[in-house]
């Protein structure tokens, strides 16, 4: 096994990219958009999250199954017997009378300028219900005491401040368009779990530490690029590449993503050439000409840093003009939307940020998520899964902190983890360093970039380039490492399944 070359099991994940502003996409996917509304102009930002995850350095005891790469104490290391032990006086946010661990949620629910993430809380609630039904943890139930709507702009800062003052919550969950309250949460040292589309999650260079803010991705790097796309192009003999992104005014992260993607090809793909590059698109752009020019340039493979709505428009225009190129979709892992798309995405690639449900055999964690949400009528989309995953990460942190948990102990415990991945559903995150902005700091990037590659065939998502039980294709994230002939195929699930 690849991970056996190392003494400790470390898994790291690198996110290559993300976007910027609002909800976009079929599922409000991993895009962040800033969008102006009434004016009609506005800025929208959408993002892509392209990705790489990484694994690293694990010395597994069982070479065939343990690829989790966990170097620090395992997230599930707390003895099972301890999980029922009730120790009073756990401090703010823990109600000993009601026997509750109080959690606050702040999501963008009714944003008039775009970006609605309410389903995130549904996933959290489902996971908490599951845990509570099994007796809770440390003799307490997990309770969402307040579900706040941060609408737009300053409201996130305001809602964070109000939550910290009024909710008496032990931890805060955030899924927001703009994370303006990140500094407040950092300053308060509040255990915080986010749907990470916000660069504000990271500790900025020279800025206050955000070591208490955890996401399903480590700190984002929009411009890092990576090996994955050049490798995929090579695998499919794509030699002419097109890259499209919003103008930096529309979405700063989209422009950075395009720059990073172009550099990746220049560095890692000598046989592929970027023959069309447009990072000047406005929101709701007219892309007719872009398609015409890509057709004239003979583009075979298109990478976009835009939201799902725009790539849908692009796909339709490509079909209209007869451009038979393949898209790498940034975020369209939505089964309902795919079924309704009329086949315009046929043959395109996509890389979800968690283990796809189509992977066989499915991991126990994925099976549990799908079974529970199906049985309890919870929508199965990326947002609910992310809420579920982050709730699970919170539970991992509580287990690690032990029965005498406090806010600080929970933060500290999770920050010892070099391969945090609840149930193996995401690429493990090294929380000893992935809080920091990796843009200009290679040392805090993950060591590997991983993608779970899917192809759309017959309107369905079909896993590609993976081995049974090993859904992730992983590359060395070292920017100086050459592109490999084949990536490592890995699983991060306990038991190495799915």
């Amino acid at each position: 096994m690849w991970c056996d070359d190392y003494d400790v099991s470390v898994s790291i994940r690198t996110i290559a990219d993300e976007l910027d502003v609002t909800p976009g996409g079929f599922m409000g996917a991993r895009t962040k958009v800033t969008r102006t509304k009434v004016s009609g102009f506005a800025t929208l930002c959408f993002a892509i999250v392209l990705v790489a995850s990484a694994c690293g350095n694990s010395k597994s005891q069982n070479q065939t199954t343990d690829t989790t790469g966990n170097a620090g104490p395992a997230a599930t290391a707390a003895p099972a017997a301890d999980l029922t032990k009730f120790v009073a006086g756990r401090g703010p946010g823990v109600d000993d009378n009601k026997k509750e661990i109080r959690v606050a949620a702040i999501t963008t629910k009714t944003n008039p300028i775009g970006g609605k993430y309410a389903e995130y809380v549904d996933g959290m609630q489902a996971y908490f219900d599951k845990i509570n039904a099994a007796g809770g943890i440390y003799g307490r139930k997990l309770v969402i005491v307040k579900n706040r709507d941060d609408t737009i702009g300053l409201q996130n800062n305001q809602q964070v401040q109000q939550s910290l003052a009024d909710d008496n919550a032990f931890a805060t969950f955030v899924a927001t368009l703009q994370f303006t309250g990140a500094d407040l949460l950092a300053k308060a040292k509040q255990p915080t779990f986010t749907w990470n589309i916000n660069p504000e999650m990271a500790t900025p260079k020279g800025g206050p530490s955000h070591a208490n803010i955890f996401g399903s991705l480590g700190a984002l790097c929009f411009s890092c690029g990576g090996h994955y796309l050049p490798w995929l192009a090579k695998q499919n003999n794509f030699t002419k590449i097109g890259i499209l992104a919003y103008s930096k005014a529309t979405s700063a992260s989209s422009g950075l993503c395009a720059d990073g993607t172009r550099r990746s090809y220049e560095k890692f793909a000598p046989t592929a050439k970027v023959v069309f590059f447009d990072d000047s698109l406005p929101f709701s752009a007219d892309i007719v000409t872009d398609v015409t020019r890509m057709k004239q340039a003979g583009v075979q493979f298109i990478n976009t840093c835009m939201d799902t709505n725009e790539v849908t428009k692009l796909a339709r225009e490509m079909k209209k003009q007869g451009l038979n190129a393949v898209q790498q979709l940034p975020n369209a892992y939505d089964h309902e939307a795919m079924a309704a798309s009329g086949g315009v995405f046929e043959g395109n690639f996509i890389s979800p940020l968690y283990v796809p449900w189509e992977v066989t055999p499915q991991s126990p964690a994925t099976q549990e998520y799908l079974a529970y949400t199906s049985a309890h009528n919870v929508k199965t989309v990326e947002l609910t899964q992310d809420g579920w995953i982050m709730a699970a990460m919170f539970l991992d942190a509580l287990k690690l902190a032990g029965p005498e948990f406090t806010k600080q102990k929970v933060i500290d415990a999770l920050n010892t983890q070099k391969g945090e991945s609840p149930g193996g559903m995401i690429v493990p995150i090294d929380w000893t360093r992935q809080h920091n902005d990796p843009t200009n700091n290679v040392a805090v990037r993950s060591k590997l970039e991983c993608a779970s590659i899917m192809k759309i065939v017959g309107g369905k998502f079909v896993p590609q380039y993976s081995e049974p039980g090993k859904p992730w294709s992983c590359f060395d994230a070292d920017p100086n490492a050459p592109i490999p002939v084949q990536p490592q195929h890995l699983s991060f699930a306990p038991g190495g399944v799915g």
Binding site: G40, Q155, Q162, P204, A249, P282, V288
Partner: protein
Amino acid sequence: MENFLGALIDGIAFGCVYALLAVGLTLAYKTSGVFNIAFGVQAFASGAIYYQLHVTDGWGILPAFVIAVLIVAPLIGVVLDRGLFRYLRSAPPMARLITALGLLVAIPQIVLIWFNQTDATNPTGIVPGGRVVYHVFGAALDRDQLSIIVLAAAVAIGLTLLFRFTALGIRMRAVVESPRMAELSGTDSDRISTASWMLSSLVAGLAGVLLPTVTQQVGDIYYTTLLTAAIAAVVLAQLTNIPIAFTGAIGLGVVQELLNRYLPTNSVLASNLRPSLPFVVLFLVLILSPRLRNRKELTDPLSTVDPPPPAPASGQRSRELTIGTRAVGVLFLGAVGYYVFFHGNASVVGQTIQIAIYAIIFCSIVVITGLAGEVSFAQATFAGIGGFASAQLSSSAGMSVILTIIIGGLIAAAIGGLLAVPALRLGGIFLTLATYAFALFFDNVIVSLSWVSGGLFPVVAPRPQMGTVDFASDKSFLALCIVILVIVGVVVILVRNGTTGRYLSAVRGSEVAAASVGINPMRARIVAFALSAGIAGVGGALLASYEGHANKIDYNAALGLFWVVIVVTLGPRTVEGAIQAAVGFVLFPARVLPDWLPWLINHVQPFLHVNALPIATQFIFFGLGAVTYAKHPEGILEANKGRSLAKVQGLIDRFKRGNPPTPQLEVAAAGTGVGTP
């Protein structure tokens, strides 16, 4: 050559998208005198209904089209006419614009609550096989596009013929020019007005079901974005000429397409010009067109027979009542201050800071709208200029934060003054549109520059320090904000009561009369504009310092529109009104809707239990509140304050002398011709 022809055809096709909206907007103005900035959200309502019926519920194209376009859209027109705009026919254009702005804020939220429409993807058009493609001179057009082209042309031609050759068209124009004069000539203004609104709403409905095939999603943002781009063509047509609006919109589409085709895609020019082209064109048309400068807006010539606007309620009090109300005010503020500073938690202190900051920013709207009588849609932009300038100067240049706040205000004032020089020649709606174009240009081009906003990570904006006094803590920063609010408030009051204020009042009443007595209207307005921008800049700088960053989303042009709505709803003519608007803006989403109102509902009746009201309610509440602007240009709270003071004054009079109470203070607003809706 084929490449050029292909671009031309593609440009015409996309231009027809603009044309449909431009023609609709022109029609609305021509037949109602309302610059209906809510036209896009009217279209959204029909688009959402069509999507719901056809795509979600599986209805056929025809029945879904009939319901969404032929029934619901005209019905919306009837409701708007009978419920609102009928009473505004003689109102100033600004009052009608504000009313439309209120609808722009409220309608999408009502639709979203009703339909729960969030991700309405994969919309379909109104012709079967909409994706079937035809190739024309190298351009690929599908049936959906062709349907837009054909219908946009048909609408433009049909409406042109209607206004040129039919009695109905002439009556529609007559009713807009002066309903009262039209009545004198035997025209039933009410019926004609209703027909006009039904017609323009029908066009909005048509646009609503056609455009999603272009945007690929049904969302109010998409309609409004396209509509804003189409405004350039509408302005080119001086708001009334349908053929010019149509051809102008197509011209805009063609220019856009040619730029797309021939500009290098990764050039600085392309990345700045492509997103901003419609706003640049709009701004240039506004500034450079000599016809616009000399053009008179559609205003009832009889409107000047209406009585003047009511004086501020505070100016109508007796001495005793003034002392009494001031004493109560001081006691109230003292109690609030005591609670906030000595018992308030971080949340309460934080919200009070925000109230103080927004009150400062809203004072800028008091100056420009309450005193100068103009509407600026760029107040958020001026706040942003102050915020970004202050943050950059303090974090990059290491200047004193207090100094940078002042400099931020001065820079905003200078830019505001410079913008005012050409824009104020336009006046009225055109001035408002010029500020809007500037705000959108700032959002789409200037903000993206890293030396302005910092790029991906917002610029750090530290808290101020004056000598040994550090404003790092929230309570000390609150004290600073209150001091600045007091200073700004005093300045606004001094200006209002001073020479500039009196000049502005005179100019607002009658520009010609003011000029005849030696007042220079331009000078007075430029001062007001610069002062207003400067105040907004100071507020924006404080906002950045409070948050620790200058976040571009806090200065978004769309947010600025909502600011205007909330201030004109509550009280655009007094500092007190600005403070009340700030209280509403901060506390509605933070306290009133999630906590206080549900508590009240749950405690006054046993049947219905409410947890938290949707935050969207605030947009509906204030949006619909703004439609009362024409009836109460002094704001709802100010109007009610006037009534309350009159009642109290009556009681005092009765108590003192046994005299009957003085009459109610409220009088009809100037030029509104307002009846009772």
